[in-house]
Amino acid sequence: MKPLRLRRLSAQVALVPTWIIVIFAYIGTILWTIRISFTSSGILPKYDFVGFKQYDRLFQSSRWTISVENLAIFGLIFVIGCLVLGFLMAVFLDQRIKGEGIFRTIFLYPYAMSFIVTGLVWAWILNPTLGIQQAVQNWGWHGFTFDWLSRGDRAIYLVGFAGMWQSAGLVMAILLAGLRGVDEDIWKAARVDGIPPWRVYLSIVIPMLSSMFVTAVVLLAIAVVKVYDIVVAMTGGGPGISTEVPAKFVIDYLFNRQNIALATAAASVMFVAVLVVLGPWLYNQYFRQDRRAS
């Protein structure tokens, strides 16, 4: 038998590719990105130092402001919509329903599809000239208008709505698993106590599922921060720039607007924001020892 140290060595060797990825693709890229954000680079990286100039510009840029606002609107509609709809679906599916499997399959299938597909389909359905609006008018309601997709002040709501269609099933699946994990005796105890079902959900089950809700919210929040594909497919950021989002801001400035310093500044802001929000959660979830023990 080889000595222990030698055996540990093969574990270290096995992790070499991962180390390379961690050092270069994760840590290295992040540092590099932050570095560039403090320069005046255009198309090509330049390694001067201009302080927070790009950040200044970023926060004065209306497009960035709009992007952040849109992200907030999208995020609210998407997260709250998914949670409410997903929770309702999970609860109703949990009522000893006939055909539960079919319903569950239907509710979750959009999640298998990409945001690109989701965006294209809804862009078509909501198409202001040939979509729902025209169909309803053809049914006889001639005054009906539903042209939010072409209205700068409304289009982002529809993007959030389409996102909700794609991801609500995810929440349903997570919460349904949680509901199935609720001790049957709790329900019995509540019935003996004479607590009406809605009250059981509200006062007992929802608090019991809080970690599931947190998981769902985190998953949805990640999707929100990364949101890009669905905007590209559904509106392309339009009408005008009314549905731009930060991720698209970065890509556009990186690859089209030829200002990588501003783009990396925007990316760094996204990075810091995510770090601030997620850091505590991650620490709580994975590294706090007492929690794992109990």
């Binding site: 990286p45 990364k226 760094s268």
Partner: protein, 295 residues
């Protein structure tokens, strides 16, 4: 209490209002979720003149298969009119090696981190964990430059590498969580039987990783197939995956918009993940739960 109301036996089941409400909600929700799919399908079988009339929800009156053949083989992206089929092949070429490699690497990581506790393991874990949540935009530019340096930018190996890099966090977490649940005594027994790092991995761990391998495969296959951003930036013109090709077809400036062709192409693009979804059934749900990176 009179004799006729004397309760006995099964409590009479009334179809209560709440019961009706539940089913009404479920049916309504199902309709909402199915509607886009229905619209995609009917649109793809309509002719353009029919579509112009604006009955988006109507069944095709003038049934045609042409949009499908056009979408498959003739739809134009820019000046190339070769349809979505190019993208299908590209997507497979990207997805198969990328999924295989990232799963393998994730399994090795999970195994090494959970049983061998190598030096710096916590650091790897923390970075990967964080990496799973950080917006990709942070990595993009330096990665473009790095890949260019090693001549991988805009190549097939390049896009595969990118998928492996960004698939690693979730795959590592997945396998780590799975192996953490394996009784450590089993591992100790294998050590006493003289198994080394790789022997234990291939002969003990992999054979008992069946369920998690399936879950990982589902996650990676659908995830990589559905990717748009990386394909757009790293794949290069000759290897654009199907999602990018689809977006190009739909948003190409050539001629008028052929909504029927677009929808046929859209369905074709969604087909692979949908098949995975319907075939894998409950496994898909497990994948979601596992992909939820629970502690």
């Amino acid at each position: 209490m009179t004799a006729e109301t004397q309760p006995r036996g099964r409590k009479p089941r009334r179809l209560t209002a709440s019961r009706i409400g539940i089913y009404a909600f479920l049916v309504f929700a199902a309709a909402f979720f199915l509607l886009p799919f229905y619209v995609m399908i009917v649109t793809s079988f309509k002719t353009m003149p029919e579509i112009q009339q604006g009955n988006i929800f109507g069944l095709p009156t003038d049934f045609t298969l042409k949009p499908w053949s056009t979408a498959w083989a003739h739809a134009c992206t820019g000046v190339n009119c070769e349809g979505i089929r190019v993208g299908v092949l590209n997507s497979f070429e990207i997805m198969i090696p990328a999924a295989t490699l990232s799963i393998l690497l994730g399994a090795i990581n999970g195994y090494a981190l959970s049983f061998w506790r190598p030096r710096g393991g916590n650091l790897i874990f923390a970075v990967l964990l964080l990496g799973a949540f950080i917006p990709y935009q942070v990595y993009l530019y330096p990665l473009v430059r790095m890949l260019s340096k090693v001549s991988l930018y805009n190549t097939l190996p390049g896009i595969i590498t990118v998928h492996v890099i960004f698939g690693l966090p979730v795959m590592t977490l997945l396998f780590r969580n799975y192996y953490v649940a394996v009784p450590v005594d089993l591992f100790k027994a294998a050590r006493i039987d003289g198994g080394g790092f790789w022997t234990i991995f291939f002969q003990l761990m992999i054979p008992m990783s069946g369920p998690i391998l399936v879950v990982a495969a589902i996650l990676q296959v659908t995830g990589i197939w559905n990717d748009f951003l990386f394909g757009l930036i790293f794949a290069g013109r000759d290897h654009l995956p199907m999602t990018v090709e689809l977006n190009n077809i739909v948003n190409t400036t050539t001629g008028t918009k052929a909504y029927n062709v677009n929808m046929a192409a859209t369905i074709l693009t969604a087909l692979v993940p949908l098949i995975v979804y319907f075939v894998s059934g409950r496994w898909f749900v497990r994948g979601i739960a596992a992909g939820a990176v629970k502690g």
